[in-house]
C-alpha cells in the first residue's frame, strides 16, 4: 500500500547521457576544423559499431533492446573512444576497440550500471597495447601542416589505407608533443630546445590545445547542468598540475611546466568526460577527490616515466579497481552519528 513518494523530478538517464553527448560537440567541432572531417567518419563508425554490438549482446543476454539502446550510454562510449584514438586510424581499429569496449567491458559485466571499468578506457588500453604504432601516430593539425588532406583523402585513408600519390604518411603525421618530449629528453635535450619544436603551441600541443579548450567549455556546461560535480575534474587537473609543478620546480630543464601538462594529451578531455563516468567511479564526494587525484598522479607518472606517451587510460583503469575500497572508506558521517 505504501508506494510513496508519488512524485519524482529527475532527468531521465537518456537525457543525462544526451547532455554528455551535447557537451562533446564543441570539442568535436574544433577537432574537425583543425584535423579535418575524418573524425566524423570515425565517430559514425564507432556509433554504428556500438549500437550494433550493444543490440546483439542485449539480445543474447535476453534483455529488452529498445530501452537500453535509447539510454545513449553505448553512444557515449563510442564517441569517447573515437575521440581518444588518432583521427586517421584505419576503420577496423575503431570497430575492434568499440566492440571490445561494449562486449567485454560493458555487457559481459552485466550492462549499464554494472561495469566496474570505464568501457571506453578499456577499449583504448586494449588498442594501445595491441597496436602501439597506429595508436601513437597522430596527424599534425591540418591547419598548421604543410601537406593537407581533403575529406575524401581522409575517407580513403581510413577505409583503404591509401594516400594520394604525392603524399607520404610521414608528411602528415608527427609525434605528439608528449611523445616527442619523452624521446627528446631521453636524448638528453633540455626543455628549452625541445619546446621550440613546431609541434608545440601556445601552452600545449599546437592545435590540440584548442580542442582541449573546447572540451573545457563542454565540461563547464556539464557542471552548470549538474551532470557532474566539481570534485572529479578539479582533483584530477589539480593533481596533474601539482605533480608537474613539483617536478618542474625541481628541474625546469628536464620537466615540462604544469600548464603544458594540463593542455597536452587527454588531460582536459579525461577530466570532464572520462573520469566523470558515474558507473565505474566512486560516489562519495571525498571518494571522488581521492579517485581523481590518484588518477592524476598516475597519469603524470606514466607520462614522465612510463612506456606510453599518455597514461590516462591506465590511470583510470587502475583507479576503477580501487573504487569499492575508496567508497567504503570515504562514507560521509551520517546525521546524528559521532563526528
Amino acid at each position: 500500500m505504501n508506494r510513496s513518494p508519488y512524485i519524482t523530478n529527475a532527468p531521465s538517464v537518456s537525457s543525462i547521457m544526451l547532455k554528455v553527448l551535447l557537451a562533446l560537440l564543441p570539442g568535436i567541432f574544433v577537432y574537425a576544423w583543425l584535423y579535418g572531417g575524418g573524425i566524423l567518419i570515425t565517430l559514425v563508425l564507432a556509433t554504428a559499431t556500438a549500437l550494433a554490438t550493444e543490440a546483439i549482446m542485449l539480445k543474447l543476454r535476453r534483455r529488452p533492446v529498445q530501452p537500453f539502446l535509447s539510454d545513449y550510454s553505448a553512444v557515449i562510449t563510442a564517441w569517447l573512444l573515437a575521440l581518444a584514438i588518432p583521427p586517421l586510424a584505419p576503420w577496423w581499429l575503431i570497430v575492434v576497440g568499440v566492440a571490445f569496449a561494449i562486449i567485454i567491458a560493458k555487457q559481459l559485466y552485466g550492462g549499464l550500471g554494472y561495469n566496474p571499468f570505464n568501457p571506453a578506457m578499456v577499449g583504448y588500453a586494449v588498442l594501445l597495447i595491441s597496436f602501439p604504432v597506429i595508436m601513437t601516430k597522430w596527424p599534425a593539425a591540418l591547419s598548421f601542416a604543410e601537406t593537407k588532406l581533403s575529406f575524401m583523402d581522409q575517407f580513403n585513408y581510413i577505409f583503404s589505407h591509401a594516400l594520394p600519390a604525392n603524399i607520404s604518411m610521414d608528411a602528415v603525421t608527427s609525434a605528439t608533443p608528449l611523445d616527442y618530449l619523452k624521446t627528446q629528453l631521453k636524448l638528453n635535450q633540455s626543455m628549452d630546445t625541445i619546446q621550440v619544436a613546431p609541434i608545440f603551441g601556445v601552452f600545449g600541443a599546437k592545435g590540440s590545445e584548442f580542442v582541449a579548450l573546447a572540451y573545457l567549455a563542454g565540461g563547464a556546461f556539464l557542471w552548470q547542468q549538474r551532470i557532474i560535480t566539481w570534485h572529479l575534474p578539479t582533483a584530477f587537473l589539480g593533481a596533474i598540475a601539482a605533480m608537474a609543478g613539483l617536478f618542474w620546480m625541481i628541474d625546469p630543464s628536464q620537466f615540462a611546466n604544469p600548464v603544458f601538462h594540463l593542455f597536452s594529451g587527454a588531460s582536459i578531455f579525461a577530466a570532464f568526460f572520462i573520469l566523470t563516468d558515474p558507473i565505474s567511479g566512486p560516489t562519495t564526494p571525498k571518494g571522488k577527490l581521492y579517485f581523481a587525484a590518484g588518477a592524476g598522479v598516475i597519469t603524470y607518472l606514466v607520462r614522465v616515466y612510463g612506456g606510453y606517451p599518455d597514461g590516462v587510460a591506465f590511470a583510470v583503469i587502475f583507479m576503477n579497481i580501487c573504487v569499492p575500497l575508496i567508497d567504503m572508506y570515504t562514507q560521509p558521517r551520517v546525521f546524528g552519528h559521532k563526528k
Binding site: M1, R3, V13, G113, T283
Partner: protein, 667 residues
Amino acid sequence: MNAPINIAGLLKKTKDVFNFHGGVHLPEHKAQSNQLPIGQLPLPDQLVLPLRQHIGNMPKVKVAVGDHVLKGQLIAEAEGSVSAAIHAPTSGTIAAIADAVLPHPSGLPDRCITITPDGNDTWIERHPQDWRKGDVNTLVNSLRLSGIVGLGGAAFPTQIKLRSNRSPIHTLVINAAECEPYITCDDMLMRERYDQVVHGIEVAQRLLGAKNIMIGIEDNKPEAVKAMQAAVENTDIQVKVVPTVYPSGDARRLVYLVLGKEVPQNKRSTEFGVQVFNVATVLALYRYFEFGEPAISRIVSMTGNVNQAQNFEVLFGTPLRHLVKAAGGAKADTSHYIMGGPMMGFNLPSEDVPITKAANCIIAASSTLFEPPPPAMPCIRCSRCADACPVSLQPQELYWFAKSDNFEKAQDYNLFDCIECGACSYVCPSDIPLVQYYRYAKSEVIALDKAQEAADLARERNEFRLARIEREKQERTAKHAARAQGAKAAKVAGNSDSKPAATDKQAAIAAAIARAKAQKETDSAAPKNTTEMSAATKAEIAETDSRRVAAGLTEEKSPAADNDKQAKIVAAIARAKAQKEDVSKVSVSGDDKTTKPVVDADRQAKIDAAIKQAKVAKAEAGKEKTSGNNDGQLMVDADKQAKIDAAIKRAKAAKSAALTAKNKEDN
C-alpha cells in the same frame, strides 16, 4: 550530482538557521488549498471512530451499542501507558462497535465505534482548567482524558511527551514547517487562529517548564509567518523562518535547522532538553484546558484532484466521502486517495475510510496528477540520491544491499537511520523505487532478528530441558547413592566404626540436597524468565509475520520472495500460529502479575499491536480458507493448514509480482 539545493541553502546561512545536508525542493501545490478559509462540514450521517488512531495501545471501550452519547463524551479510555482516549465528536447513538476499514498503510480493518448523530450536537458538561496557575502534574495527568495526540501525522499520545518523569526541557520547538507539498492545514491554522496557537504554545511552555521557545515555519508561508510574528509580540516566542527544503518538517531536521544540534541516533531530542510539538497539537492543548474540549476534530487539507480544494475542520470519524463532497467532489478521473503528502503518504483503501487524528491531508489522485513511474533502469551510481539524502546516507549502496538481500551490509550502512522521506527516490534518474527497497529491507531485518531470537529461545529451552533431564538423572543417582550409602552406613553403624561413614553419608546427603535446591531454584526461576521474555518476543514475531504477510499481499513491487523467502514466510506463519496461543496466554498472565515491572511503553504497544495483527492475520487466513480449495483436507490443525496454504498462495503471488517488478526494472 549536485542535488538541486545547496547553493540557495548556503546563502541563507545568514538567517541564523542551520541548513542540513541534502533535502530537495519540491513543487509546492499549496496555493491550491490555501485560498479559502477553513471550512466547516455539515454533520455526516455516521461517524466511524477507529479505536486505534494513535501509536500505542487500543483504548478500552466505555459504551455499548444503543447508548446515547453527548458531544465530547469519553467513549473509550486510554489503556496502558501509551494510549489515547476517544470521544464522541457529536451527540448521537452508538450504532455499532465492529471492525471496519481504516486509513492505515496496512489496509487492514480494525475495531471502530460507529455513532449515528442525533443532529443536536449537544455538548457534555465541559470542565475548563486554569492552565496558567493550576498544578502542572494535575494538568498533565488530566491530559490522559483529552485524547490529544500529535497532529503532525505521527499521532503519538501527547500526554507522554509532557509527563514529568522525562528529562528537563529547556527548549520547545514548535513544528510548523509543513514541508510536504499540497498540505496547508497548519498554514491556515496559523493564519486564522494565531492567537490560540500562541496560547497553545504558552500551555506547552508552562507544562514543560521550557524557557527557550521557537516556532519553525518554512519561508513559503509568508502570511502565516506574518500572522505569527504579530501574534508573538510581547511574548518570548521566536518565529524562525526556515528555508523551504524538504524534509524540514522532520523533527530531527527541524531541531537542527533552528538550533544547529544533531539529535544523536537512537536518542531523543528530550535527552538534551529539547521537545518538539506540532503547531496544531499545542492548539488542541489550549482548547482542552481553556474550554474543556477534548480532541474531537482537526483541520484537514482536502486537495488534489477535487473541484474546490480547501481546508476543513473535520470531526474525527467523518467518512472521507463526506469530505470529498464538501470540496466540490472529486474530478472524474480520480483514481484513488492519498493520506498525507505525496512524499510520505499512502494510498487509502477506499472512499469509506474515516478521517482520523493522523489525517492532516487527503489528496485526490489521478494518473495525470501522479504519473505512474516509468520502469526502473539500473542504478548508474550518479549519487544524486546521496546528495539529496537529509541523513547523509548512501542510498545507492543501501539499494544495492537491499536488492541483493545483503541485510547485514545494509545495516552497516545505517539502513535504520533512513527516515523514508523519499528524497532519494525523488531525484533518481533511473526511477528506482528506492524507499520501497528500504521498507522491505527493514521489515526483513526485523523479521530475521525475531526469528533468530525465537530460534535462540527454542534452543535455550531445549538446553534447559536436556539439562533438567540430566539433572533429574543425577538427582536420582545421587538419591540412590545416598540411600544405598545410608543403608550401608546404618549397617556399618550397626557394626562398630560408624563415625567416618556417617560423616561421609551426611556430606553426601547435604551436597545432594544443596545441589537439588540450587537446581530447583534455577529450574523455577529461569524458565519463568524465558516465558516472560518469550511473550514479548513471540508477540513481535507474530506482528512481524503478519506485517510481512500484509506486505506480501499488498506490495506488488515488493522485491521479496524467492523460494527461500517463500519457505521463510510459510515457516513464519506456522510459527506465529503455533505461538499465538502462548502469546495470549502469557499476555493475560502478564496482566495479572501486579508486581511485574512496568513494561517499556513502546514494547507494550508493540505487543498489543502484534496480538491484534495476529488476530487480523488469522481472520484473513480464515477468509482465504473458505475461498480456497482445500476445505476437504482440514485435519488436526485446520486453521494452521489454511494459514500455511494462504501464505504459500500469497508468497507465490508476491513472487510473481516481484518477478514482474524485476523484469520491469531490468527493462
